[in-house]
Symmetry: C2
Subunit: 373 residues, 2 copies
C-alpha cells in the first residue's frame, strides 16, 4: 500500500491509498472557498450525553445526478472532490463536517446546566472505489483489504490528535436511511468524546470485570459460539452472529477472536481474513430479501485514551428492513424511551442468514484469546 497526501483547493486534506506504486500530483483546480464550520457540542444533563449542534450543514449536497457525483474521479473539465483521473481508495475531509479542528469557542451560557464546547474533531469521507455504481460487496478481495488498511491508518492517525477521543469508521448504505450520495463510500467521525453507546458498554464491561473477573465482550462471544443457534459465519480469526438481544430486524455482530482495541491493532492475517469474511457477510445480506439491503455498518472501537483493555473491537451491521416491502421505523418506544421492539427473533434471522450465506458454521468452538483483559 502506498499513501499519497494532498490538499484540496479550500485547504482540506485528501489521502490516496493505492495498491500499486502510483505517482500522484494532486492539483485541485477548482475555485472553492473554505466552509466555515461552526459546530458545538452541548451536554444533555438528563441523558448525560453530548449532542452536536451544527448550523451550516442544511445546504449540503443531496442525491446529485450521476454526472455530478463529487466522489467520482476528476476527468477533463469535470472537477470533483477527487482531483485525480482515477484512484483505488481516497479519503478526504468532509466539506460539511459535524466536527472540525478549527471551530471557534461558542459563547458561554452563564448557566451551570448548559455546558457547550466547540465540536473539535474531524469528519472524513472514504471513497471505497472510483466506480460510481456498485457497492462494497462488489469489491475484489485485495481492494476490500485496501479499504481495511485505510480504515486502520485513519484510526491510528486520528487517534493521535489531542482533540479526538473516539474514532468511528462506518458506512450508511441506501436511500432508505437517508444516504445523500450513491457512490460507494463510507465515513469516519473522530469525536471529541467517547460516544454514548461506547461509554455505556464500557460501564457494563467494567462492572462485569469487577464482578466476574473476565472480559464481557469475550464472554458474550464465547456464549454465542457455545449456543451456536445465532452464529452465521466463522472463520479462522472472526466470528459473526445475530446477538441474543438484537434490536434491529437484521443485525449481525462480527468479532475478531482475539481481543484488540481497534482496527489499527489487527495483524496481517486478521485483516486478510476480515476482507473475505466481510465480503461474504455483505453479499449474504443483499441476498436476504432479494433487494439491496439498506444498512449501517459500524465499527465499535475503543476510546483513544481510556479503557482500551475493557473494549473489544467489533463490527455491527444492521438494517431497518424487516421484509422485502417493509421497513422498521423507530417510533415512540424506540425513539422516545430507548425501548426497542424487534419483530423478528434473532434465531429466525440467523437461520435465514445461514441459508443465504451458504456456509455451515464451524461446529468447533475455537479458543477465544482475551489478551490483556
Amino acid at each position: 500500500m502506498k499513501i499519497t497526501t494532498g490538499t484540496l483547493a479550500d485547504g482540506r486534506e485528501i489521502l490516496f491509498f493505492d495498491r500499486a506504486d502510483t505517482l500522484r500530483v494532486i492539483e485541485d483546480r477548482r475555485d472553492i472557498e473554505p466552509v466555515r464550520t461552526r459546530s458545538e457540542i452541548r451536554h444533555d444533563s438528563l441523558a448525560d450525553q453530548w449532542v452536536a449542534v451544527t448550523a451550516h450543514r442544511q445546504g449540503r449536497t443531496h442525491l446529485p445526478p450521476a454526472d455530478e457525483c463529487p466522489l467520482c474521479p476528476s476527468v477533463g473539465d469535470r472537477l470533483t472532490e477527487i482531483p485525480e483521473p482515477d484512484y483505488d481508495v481516497a479519503v478526504f475531509e468532509n466539506r460539511f463536517p459535524s466536527f472540525a479542528l478549527d471551530v471557534p469557542d461558542p459563547p458561554e451560557t452563564g448557566e451551570e446546566l448548559f455546558v457547550r464546547l466547540p465540536a473539535r474533531g474531524r469528519c472524513e469521507v472514504v471513497c471505497f472505489t472510483s466506480a460510481h455504481t456498485g457497492s462494497f460487496a462488489d469489491l475484489p478481495h485485495d481492494h476490500a483489504r485496501l479499504v481495511i488498511d485505510a480504515w486502520a491508518q485513519r484510526t491510528e492517525a486520528l487517534s493521535a490528535l489531542d482533540e479526538v477521543e473516539q474514532v468511528f469508521c462506518f458506512e450508511n448504505r441506501g436511500p432508505e436511511i437517508g444516504v445523500t450520495l450513491h457512490h460507494p463510500h463510507g465515513q469516519i467521525y473522530a469525536y471529541p468524546f467517547a460516544t454514548p453507546t461506547t461509554a455505556q458498554m464500557l460501564r457494563s464491561a467494567r462492572s462485569y470485570a469487577e464482578r466476574v473477573g473476565t472480559n464481557l465482550f469475550g464472554d458474550l462471544l464465547a456464549a454465542e459460539l457455545r449456543a451456536q443457534t445465532r452464529v452465521v459465519w466463522q472463520s479462522r480469526h472472526w466470528a459473526a452472529f445475530v446477538p441474543f438481544a438484537a434490536r434491529w430486524p437484521v443485525e449481525v455482530h462480527l468479532y475478531p477472536r482475539r481481543q484488540v482495541p481497534d482496527l489499527a491493532a489487527l495483524d496481517d492475517a486478521e485483516r486478510d481474513d476480515l476482507a473475505e469474511t466481510y465480503l461474504t457477510l455483505l453479499r449474504g445480506l443483499d441476498a436476504l430479501f432479494g433487494v439491496p439491503l439498506p444498512y449501517i455498518a459500524a465499527w465499535y472501537q475503543a476510546p483513544v485514551r481510556h479503557h482500551r483493555d475493557l473494549a473489544w473491537l467489533h463490527l455491527r451491521v444492521f438494517s431497518i428492513r424487516r421484509a422485502p416491502e417493509k421497513l422498521k421505523y423507530l417510533a415512540g418506544s424506540e425513539s422516545a424511551m430507548g425501548a426497542f421492539i424487534n419483530d423478528i427473533t434473532p434465531e429466525d434471522m440467523a437461520a435465514r442468514l445461514q441459508t443465504v450465506m451458504g456456509g455451515t458454521p464451524l461446529t468447533t468452538v475455537e479458543a477465544i484469546d482475551e489478551g490483556t483483559s
Copy 2:
C-alpha cells in the same frame, strides 16, 4: 366523564370515555380468535437494557383504506375494533401487542449472560375521536381534555398491575415515521421495566440531587425560563421550550410548573390548561413547515414504584422533519453510536416556533414548585 368497560369478541378489554352520560351496550359481533402473544424481553448485557422480541406482529394491519379502518365506529355490517355506532374516546387492548399479561415463560437459555423473561405488560390503543380524518390538533378543548383524562385514568389503572413498571402514553403521527393507521389515535405501553431513557434520566437526577440537593428537572426548567431564548410558550401551569441540547430538528419539551410524577397526579386546573397549551403547541407545529408535521409525542412519567420523587412528568414532541422537503434520518452516528447531530440550532427552531405559535412568551419567570423533591 363517564367510563364504560366492555370486552371484545376475542376477550380483549375496551373502555369508552364519554363526556355525556351515554348508555353503551358494547356487543362485539365479530368472529375473531384470540391472538396468541409470544413476546419476551431479553437483556442486552452490553447496553444493560431490555429489548423486546416478538414473533407474531409481522402480519399486523398496514395502512388499510379508509373504508376498512379498524378504529372507526361499527356501523351496520361494517364491524371494527369499536363495537359502538359512535364514541368520544375509546381505549382498547392492541390485537398485536408487544407486551401482554398472559405471555408464557420463554425457555431458559442456560447461559448467565442470556437472560430472557416473558414480556408481561400491556399495549393499548387510544382512539382520540370517532372522526377518521383530522388529527389531535383539530379536537375542541373539552374533547382534548377528555383524552387527557383518559390518559390519566389508564396511567393509574395500569400502574396498579403487578407486572407493570412504567406507563408510556404516546402518539406517533404521520406515515413518514411508519404510522400504519391514519385514524387519529395514540398508544399506551405498560412496560415490565423502567425504560432505558427514563432509567438514565433518573440516574442523572439522583446523582444531581446528591450533589446539589435540588431536582434536576426543576432546575433545568428554571434555567430555560431564565434564558428565555428557547421558551416557546408559557401558561399559568405549563411551560414549553426547545431544550438546550435538542437532538431532533424539531423538539419541544412541555413541563408542568409543579413537580408531579405522572398524568394521574395533575389537578383539574392543570389538565384544563394542558388541553389548551397542547392544542396550541400542536397547531404551531403543523404551521411550521406548511405541511402536517410527522411527530412523536411522548409522555415521560415516573416509574410506577421507584424514584417517583426524582422524576418530573413532562411531554416531549419531536420530529424528523428538518425542512418542508427534507427528513432527518438516524444514520451511523445516531443509530450506532448514540451521538446525535442536530442541523438546526435550538435557538433558531425556538424563534420559528415563537412566530408560528403567535404568542409572546410571558417574560415573568414564575415560581417553580419543586414539591417533595
